[in-house]
């Protein structure tokens, strides 16, 4: 019994096995994430009521909040993959990690960018040293560290393990950084509007936000799987199964 479970695990953890299995997930991930995105965008932008104080400008949170969620969650995905690679030497985990790093950095940038767009009508300026934005900026730096470290190494094996160590150190420190930035912000609290905490939002705004968060999670999973598959093909381009795959493509 246990043996069979391991067999299953090994098949999934081997790059060709994952490539084959994940191919079956793609239509489902693509379909559900695009459908939820469509529902969330239309609901949030067209049907949710305008905010009493901020008018329509608040609607950027339908992009900003899910992106911030995924930016942080993406770091943990990356670090967990790094740990699996470091401890059990699972090759696939390194592929996941290398795909998750730029993806997470992009989401963090999106969160920062949307946050600053939202800041203009709200605070009258594109950049405010708000706790949330500052933490997001530090997170972006952490991501960029992992991305650049991987590029700096000539050897892929070394790069993967070095990035894993860095990501794990970052993981331990992220809660400390977030808490300290919150604390710092409370010291210098300016008299501006704080982002409304989610639970106290009106349900008509909150529900489309939940849909968008869910859609972003699925979208993230979809893009991650696509990137992982592409990276597997690059890394295994010399392997027989990839050549067979390419041969099939040509003959079709």
């Amino acid at each position: 019994m246990a043996e069979r479970r391991w067999q299953w695990f090994h098949r999934l953890a081997s790059p060709p096995g994952f490539y084959r299995v994940s191919g079956r997930w793609l239509p489902w991930l693509a379909g559900t994430s695009l459908a939820l995105l469509a529902v969330g965008v239309v609901w949030g932008l067209l049907y949710a009521p305008p905010d009493a104080r901020q008018g329509n400008s608040y609607r950027i949170i339908f992009l900003h909040v899910p992106a911030s969620f995924l930016a942080l969650a993406g770091y943990y995905v990356m670090a967990a993959a790094g740990a699996i690679h470091l401890i059990w030497r699972v090759k696939l985990a390194d592929v996941v990690m290398s795909a998750a790093a730029p993806l997470g950095a992009a989401l963090t940038f999106l969160a920062l960018f949307s946050g600053s767009l939202w800041g203009k009508p709200t605070w009258g300026t594109y950049w405010v040293w708000d706790a949330r934005i500052t933490s997001m900026l530090v997170l972006l730096f952490l991501y960029l560290g992992v991305v650049t470290l991987r590029q700096a190494y000539a050897s892929r094996e070394t790069a993967g393990r070095a990035c894993a160590v860095l990501a794990l150190v970052g993981t331990v420190n992220i809660p400390i950084i977030y808490k300290s930035v919150d604390w710092w912000y409370s010291l210098h609290q300016p008299a501006t509007i704080r982002l409304t905490a989610a639970p106290s939002m009106h349900p008509d705004m909150f529900q489309p936000l939940v849909v968008m968060i869910l859609a972003f999670y699925l979208f993230y999973a979809w893009v991650l799987v696509l990137n992982v598959r592409a990276e597997i093909l690059v890394r295994e381009r010399r392997a027989g199964w990839v050549r067979d795959l390419a041969g099939e493509g040509e003959s079709e």
């Binding site: 000539a154 050897s155 892929r156 094996e157 010399r238």
Partner: protein, 208 residues
């Protein structure tokens, strides 16, 4: 030594691959106490890489290493306690004298307290307190070799130990090797030079 006892270090089916470039594959060998193994091969054949793998500084892409029958890296602690490795660069601080260098190394490895004796044995009696930066490359290598005689390592892994060493020095090194082998130790080393010792076995790396 019983004939049935496992070799000190055995390695089988070692292959190493970097960025899709296969450096070598299916390399195997073993050393028992009293064995001396010379790794030979053209430049770029992977001699240094192989020695670094044997010293657990690098992880092979495939294959396994066994120390006294125990699989590495699990047996790493007992392995490191009996391993002496000398790399391409001798591992000495240029700002410290030979005596000071051997002293800090004594804090890291099990080492006999006979530093001056060992330095004198490799012909450095006059240079105990000269900073290593002022010694020639060959003399620095002798300092590093002097440390080998002080450790209780049973296995020596030496990357090009004869580089920069003059003819008189080679005789000193051979004497060092001989007494290590006689006391039941084993040596794996790489060199383009042949050493004048009986029973040297060869491991040839050819480019794959």
């Amino acid at each position: 030594m019983l004939p049935s006892s496992p070799p000190l270090l055995a390695f089988c089916a070692l292959s190493f691959e970097r960025n899709d470039r296969l450096l070598f594959e299916r390399v195997e060998g073993a050393v028992h106490g009293g064995d001396i193994l010379q790794v030979v091969g053209a430049n770029g054949a992977g001699k240094t890489t192989l020695l670094r793998i044997l010293a657990t500084l690098l992880t092979p892409t495939q294959g396994e290493l066994r120390w006294c029958g125990g699989l590495l890296p699990r047996a790493r602690a007992s392995y490191l306690a009996e391993l002496a490795f000398l790399g391409h660069v001798p591992g000495l601080k240029p700002g410290l004298s030979p005596r000071e260098n051997l002293r800090w190394l004594a804090g890291l490895f099990a080492q006999r307290d006979a530093i001056e004796e060992a330095l004198a044995a490799v012909g450095l009696a006059k240079w105990f307190d000269t900073p290593c930066a002022q010694l020639s490359a060959g003399m620095q290598r002798r300092v590093a070799l002097a440390r080998l005689a002080l450790t209780r390592a049973r296995l020596w892994i030496l990357d090009e130990p004869l580089t920069a060493i003059d003819r008189a020095g080679v005789a000193v090194v051979e004497q060092l090797f001989r007494s290590h082998l006689q006391s039941g130790g084993a040596i794996i080393f790489s060199s383009h030079q042949a050493v004048d010792l009986p029973g040297v076995k060869y491991l040839a790396l050819t480019e794959s």
